[in-house]
């Protein structure tokens, strides 16, 4: 053992020797001024390679890819940084900048570089970024604010936070329920004149400065420089609100988003209801008891005209069936019920600044919101599925297409994103837009309803499903929209009561078996001569009961296991 491990320390020694030599060489290098230049050179090299295509070779935020993005990449020449621990309008600390380099900015195109670039490279880039704004050298060193301790969230705190949300009029931009749909939202622009969205506070995983209540509190204190979001430090300084109350506001904002960041699960579980007991409307109370599954949507960037900044970033999907019909309820944030004249200005400004324009200029128009639920035309054997992006010629997909300007939804076969062939048949739809959110109920019989409509929703198998969403006031239509990949919906076979009954049956049977075994053993003790027979009997009782118990467990647990839920 010792002999085997001997070479390791020896080579380690060699490495250490090299490191020591390296340190010596570094120590003997030219004086610090030249070292600074060297770091800037290294920073420039890394920056030009990894950062400039978005942020521009001169740091002005105008790299070749910038026009495909909104929010635009930051212009470093003005020394404005959103995510800071320093006061509103102040320059950031090095740690502030490094945090963004390391972690990126959720909800934007800025990725985190911690795992991609070595520490030295990142530090060099940081120094180089600062060089785009010379006052970094002359301004007083930035002082991080003292943010104190986080008070524990409580219903009272959240409620008081809600009152401040009202009284300091956060809703003017962020909307009454925080989905970024306030009356001023369509007009917002950043310091560079680009349209900017009021944040949807229900999707905290897209907060560019982080999702925690501490992150939110800091953004409230310091503001987001270069954007319409003000700093509220002044309100605390002026005695308008206390620091504690600002924390309450942060807790309230945090409470608008789910407690846990939604996990993507592959399979929607469609519970089975008694026949005729599917919720009839989109806002039926029953839906509140149905588990919602979240699916991310991304811009369609596969076929021209590609769309890099979609309005919809995810959908919540619930599903139920009753053995005769299947119903889906889909919810997603959408700042307007398109077409909304108040958002026309937004659409004009947005379309004006966005690339690419592969199908020519996109004209601002009064367009509806749209949603598509997509399935294969029939349940596929094995893992074969049609092309997720609306099928191909000869290998179509089956879709339920809904538009906000029409009643109901239309079934269609799609042979490609621009080859939609309507079918007859009936899809019921019930839609409601409220407070920056669409909720849409789509419902069809499990049996196909028209000619050409062949999808029979079977229970007990996983059926592929995909989602598409368009926000008309965001200029979306056709290929310009948000898409998902394939997921599954699984219609449960057993009506829900079995879920609760089966464990009870299993409990009774197991208990009964136990009592039986004990009483047999006691009888055997009393009659030792019949021991052999007793073993046999106990064994047969075991085999009689066990399959039934297992059956019961399978009925309740099997489908769940099939769902692949983590």
């Amino acid at each position: 053992m010792a002999a085997v491990s001997n070479p390791v320390p020896r080579s380690l020694g060699r490495v250490l020797g090299l490191v020591a030599f390296g340190v010596l060489v570094l120590a003997l290098r030219p004086p610090p001024a030249a070292g600074q230049t060297t770091q800037l050179d290294r920073g420039r090299e890394v920056y030009d390679r990894w950062c400039a295509s978005c942020h521009g070779f001169e740091g002005d935020g105008l790299g070749p890819a910038a026009a495909w993005m909104l929010p635009r990449p930051r212009d470093f020449t003005r020394g404005l940084y959103q995510i800071r621990t320093t006061a509103g309008g102040a320059i950031p600390t090095d740690d502030d900048i490094m945090r963004v380099i390391n972690e990126g900015m959720p909800g934007t195109t800025m990725p985190g570089w911690e795992g991609q670039l070595g520490r030295g490279d990142r530090e060099a880039v940081l120094a180089y970024l600062k060089s785009f704004y010379p006052p970094f050298e002359t301004l007083a060193a930035p002082e991080p604010l003292d943010f104190g301790r986080t008070p524990r969230a409580s219903p009272e705190r959240i409620e008081e936070g809600r009152e401040f949300y009202q009284s300091i009029e956060c809703w003017q931009c962020h909307g009454d329920e925080g989905r970024g749909d306030g009356p001023s939202a369509p007009e917002l622009e950043d310091d560079w004149g680009y349209p900017i969205r009021a944040l949807d506070l229900t999707e905290n995983w897209r907060f560019n400065g982080g999702e925690t209540v501490e992150d939110i509190y800091r953004r409230l204190r310091t503001g987001l420089d270069g954007t319409p979001m003000p700093a509220f430090q002044d309100l605390v300084d002026a005695g308008f609100m206390t620091d504690d109350q600002l924390w309450n506001l942060a807790h309230f904002v945090r409470s608008l988003a789910p407690e846990q960041r939604p996990r993507v699960r592959e399979v929607i579980r469609a519970d089975r209801r008694e026949p005729g007991e599917l919720p009839a409307s989109v806002d039926a109370e029953d839906w509140s008891e149905v588990e919602a599954f979240w699916f991310p949507l991304v811009g369609q960037i596969i076929v021209p005209p590609r769309w890099f900044e979609p309005a919809v970033h995810g959908v919540w999907v619930q599903a139920l069936h009753d053995g005769q019909e299947i119903a889906f309820r889909i919810s997603w944030s959408d700042r307007s019920q398109s077409p909304d004249p108040r958002w026309m200005e937004w659409q004009e400004r947005f379309l004006e600044v966005m690339e690419p324009r592969e199908a020519g200029e996109v004209e601002p128009e009064a367009r509806p919101d749209q949603f598509v639920l997509q399935f294969p035309p029939t349940i596929p054997e094995g893992m074969d599925r049609p092309y997720f992006l609306m099928g191909r010629g000869g290998d179509p997909v089956y879709q339920w297409r809904w538009r906000s300007d029409q009643d109901g939804a239309e079934p269609a076969n799609a042979h490609g994103i621009d080859d939609i062939r309507p079918l007859d048949g009936r899809i019921e739809a019930d839609a409601r837009w409220e407070e920056g959110r669409w909720r849409l109920l789509l419902r069809r019989s499990l049996e196909p309803t028209g000619t050409g409509d062949r999808l029979h929703f079977e229970t007990g198998v996983s059926i592929p499903i995909a989602f598409f969403a368009w926000d008309g006031d965001h200029g979306e239509d056709g290929a310009r929209g948000a898409i998902s990949s394939w997921y599954y919906v699984h219609l449960l076979e057993e009506p829900p009561p079995s879920v609760y009954v089966s464990p009870l049956v299993a409990f009774v049977l197991t208990g009964g078996l136990g009592l039986f075994v004990i009483s047999r053993a006691q009888r055997r003790e009393r009659r030792p001569s019949e021991a052999g027979e007793g073993h046999e009997l106990a064994g047969s009782a075991d085999t009689d009961d066990r399959p039934r118990t297992t059956d019961g467990t399978d009925a309740s647990m099997g489908p769940e296991a099939d769902l692949g839920r983590p």
Binding site: G56, F57, E58, D60, G61, L62, P64, A66, A67, D75, T77, R78, G79, L80, G88, G89, A90, I91, P134, L139, S167, I168, E169, Q172, C173, P183, S184, E187, L188, E189, D191, W192, G193, Y194, G223, D225, G226, P228, M229, P230, A231, F232, Q233, D234, L235, A238, F240, R349, E352, V353, E355
Partner: protein
């Protein structure tokens, strides 16, 4: 520090001037700024001072005023009795208001004391009053909210550091200072997109915004030769040279014309032209953004 420019077109969305029927907008506290400054130690013998007076004219037809929809803020709507009009170019009898006039060159060698008195910009009826004003570096700029509605004040300078704060309650006041000369710094309210104001920061007290009669007054200047600049948010800039002699009042006039609406370049912390995606490797002055 590079300077960006905007064209006259680009300023369209920003040049919000509310003209109340019969109301007065424009002239700020700046006119008596030299007098305030004179209270402190001036860097020249005031007995030798001369004066500059002048007028800014407009030739042609100004763009028609735009009616603002303030229905989202009934208090503001009521303030104007529903008569909410935005004049990008405020002209009365050929006289142009809201022009920032200041000594651009000729005072470089002198250091002037910072006035103790604050310059106040009020928010009344969802409009900034005055629309154009000036301060010295270090001089207090007070933003007051006289409205019973929430405003934020978002300053986006190029040279100075920015600020953006909220004033959710009536009669709130917030003070800020700028550190460096900069003509001009735009202020905006993001909640009410029509609200815009401009602040010039100059290193001496010789600056003024023209009143509705188009007049301005730069008094008690040291004798010497000066370049005076007139800046308008929509019409751009003009320069005139003037010689000030002890005890005399030199007259200077500027004339902006209708034609400048289409061509003027307005120095300002301007949004980058969103159309000009690819040509920014060199800092070319953008061609402006149309709205």
């Amino acid at each position: 520090m590079r300077t960006r420019h905007r064209t006259a077109k680009a300023a369209t969305g920003l040049a919000a001037l509310l003209v109340l029927a019969g109301g007065v907008v424009g002239c700020g506290d700046d006119d008596d700024a030299p007098a305030q400054a004179a209270q402190a130690e001036m860097p020249f013998d005031v007995a030798t001072a001369g004066h500059v007076q002048g007028m800014v004219m407009f030739e042609g037809t100004p763009p028609p005023p735009v009616s603002l929809d303030m229905s989202s803020e009934p208090e503001c709507d009521d303030h104007w009795n529903g008569q909410t009009q935005r004049e990008e170019v405020a002209v009365q009898d050929g006289h142009l208001a809201n022009v920032f006039v200041y000594v651009k060159e000729g005072l470089e060698d002198l250091t002037f004391p910072t006035p103790q008195q604050a310059v106040v910009i009020d928010q009344v009826g969802c409009a900034y009053t005055p629309h154009v004003s000036g301060v010295m570096p270090g001089q207090t700029l007070t933003l007051r909210n006289s409205d019973p509605v929430m405003h934020n004040v978002n300053a986006s300078p190029q040279v100075n550091r920015p600020f953006n704060f909220s004033q959710p309650a009536q009669n709130m006041e917030t003070n800020r200072t700028f550190t460096s000369p900069e003509v001009m710094i735009p202020l905006r309210c993001d909640v009410h997109g029509w609200m815009q104001a401009y602040v010039g920061v100059v290193a001496h007290p010789y600056h003024a915004a023209t009143a509705q009669a188009g007049t301005f007054d730069l008094s008690e200047l040291p004798p010497g030769d000066y370049v005076i600049e007139a800046w308008h948010p929509r019409l751009g800039t003009q320069e005139e040279q003037v010689t000030v002699e002890t005890g005399q009042t030199a007259e200077v006039s500027f004339t902006f014309t209708e034609a400048m609406l289409a061509t003027a370049v307005v120095p300002l912390g301007d949004p980058i032209d969103p159309h000009d995606h690819h040509s920014h490797v060199h800092h070319v002055a953008p061609t402006g953004r149309t709205r």
